[in-house]
């Protein structure tokens, strides 16, 4: 092999685009030829300088939310069965002179079935993406204020690290057309999402359990908020987590 051939193939070699004999010839030549070995070394040094000094970037949480919202709005996705409820709610809001900043979800009317599908989709989407959270923090006093100005309610945030369910962070999500708070907790290698939004009207109650595609969900409606908890965790532990949450809620309410 000549120097010129080595130089011409060097980029492809360094980039792992050469296979079999081609790669072997390059390797053999570099062992015998100091000039080419040096060129190879220089290429590797440049490559590690770039890769180590300039890591790929993470999209800001704000952009993540913006993109998700824009895509959903552009797709015009509205659960067919729930649509009349929003119209009705909007009309009611106008009648009583209440300014409604964001669309709300009426649990009493929109079927739990439709919500379960969206809650699960939200959870799976978050797990598939490169991160689960818009705000990553184990500190509830960091996570709670993050939602200020992003939602028209201030969600309760608790930390159960002492009980083996540490807080990981939070993100904005969308159920129906409404922005909701999603809080993320860990349990060993499992992830638990708590999606919550203000309870509109209708009966409070629960918890009720739903299982789909190997994921378990528990949902209940307290006077203030409606909760959906979703994880691949076993139902027993998910039940324990939900009890901790409801206890914390009733303690906070006192």
């Amino acid at each position: 092999m000549k120097h010129e051939d080595f130089a011409a193939q060097l980029d492809a070699y360094v980039d792992g685009e050469l296979v079999g004999n081609e790669a072997r010839d390059m390797e053999l030549h570099a062992r015998e030829c100091a000039t080419c070995a040096h060129a190879h070394e220089r290429h590797l040094a440049l490559r590690s300088a770039i890769r180590e000094r300039l890591p790929a970037l993470q999209a800001p949480g704000e952009l993540r939310s913006r993109v998700r919202l824009a895509v959903r709005a552009a797709a015009g996705v509205t659960p067919a069965r729930a649509r009349p409820d929003w119209r009705w709610l909007a009309a009611a809001a106008v009648l009583v002179g209440v300014a409604v900043g964001t669309w709300k979800i009426s649990d009493s009317r929109a079927s739990a079935h439709a919500i379960a599908g969206q809650v699960l989709a939200s959870h799976v989407r978050a797990l598939m993406g490169t991160h689960l959270t818009d705000v990553a923090s184990t500190d509830q006093h960091t996570v709670k204020p993050w939602f200020n100005g992003r939602l028209d309610f201030s969600p309760p945030v608790y930390d159960f690290a002492g009980r083996g369910y540490p807080l990981i962070g939070g993100r904005l999500d969308y159920i129906g057309q409404g922005a909701v708070a999603a809080l993320v907790y860990g349990r060993r290698q499992h992830v638990i999402d708590v999606l919550l939004w203000p309870t509109q009207r209708g009966p409070t109650g629960g918890p009720a359990a739903v299982t789909r595609q190997g994921y378990h969900m528990l949902h209940w409606s307290a006077p203030d908020y409606t909760y959906w908890v979703v994880s691949d965790l076993g139902v027993t532990e998910l039940g324990e987590f939900s009890r901790l949450w409801r206890q914390a809620d009733s303690t906070a309410a006192r």
Binding site: D15, E17, A45, A59, V71
Partner: protein, 177 residues
């Protein structure tokens, strides 16, 4: 759009938001523009999604990055119509400099700011192949899809871009001699 179609779309392209942002940020060298381009690209992607035939995650990435890249170029052209007058010329931008001998030790010692400066100083056509190859680990074939150029051109652009970077980072400046 059908909810099932939206779910498919979100599964195919939402996981690549970081890659999209990285490419836009380096191409445009401005965070605000990069965020606008990413959002715009996602909306374009949604419109074109019927034409997306891929199944794997990697195909979704190349497909989305090609749209991000085109959206970024459109913004650049609108911002600086004069800059577009000078078409990128493969040979013009590959002048010699063979007499200089970059030093490997200097390349190793280059700090983050210097690497960033050297990359930002490259013409955008060189910058994009470096970002796609080194920061996002795309293969030549994937880079060719994203940038809309033949695989052979990917290789020659990478080689030229690297020679420039080596010269910028591996050559001692006069005042330091």
């Amino acid at each position: 759009m059908e909810p099932s179609q939206l779910t498919r779309f979100e599964a195919a392209v939402l996981p690549h938001l970081d890659a999209a942002y990285t490419l836009a940020r380096y191409l445009l060298r401005d965070d605000h523009d990069a965020q606008d381009v990413v959002q715009e690209a996602y909306l374009r992607a949604l419109n074109y999604f019927d034409g997306f035939r891929g199944t794997g995650a990697a195909e979704g990435r190349s497909w989305l990055l090609a749209i991000v890249r085109n959206t970024a170029y459109t913004l650049r052209a609108n911002r600086r119509p004069d800059a577009h007058a000078t078409e990128f010329d493969e040979t013009l931008h590959s002048e010699g400099g063979e007499d200089e001998h970059p030093e490997t030790e200097l390349l190793r010692a280059a700090d983050r700011a210097a690497v960033r400066r050297a990359l930002d100083a490259l013409p955008v056509e060189f910058r994009e192949v470096i970002v796609l190859r080194e920061l996002q680990d795309l293969s030549y074939k994937e880079i060719a899809e994203v940038a809309g150029i033949p695989v052979g051109t990917v290789m020659s652009r990478l080689a030229r871009a690297r020679r420039r970077l080596e010269r910028a980072l591996g050559t001692r400046m006069k005042e330091h001699d």
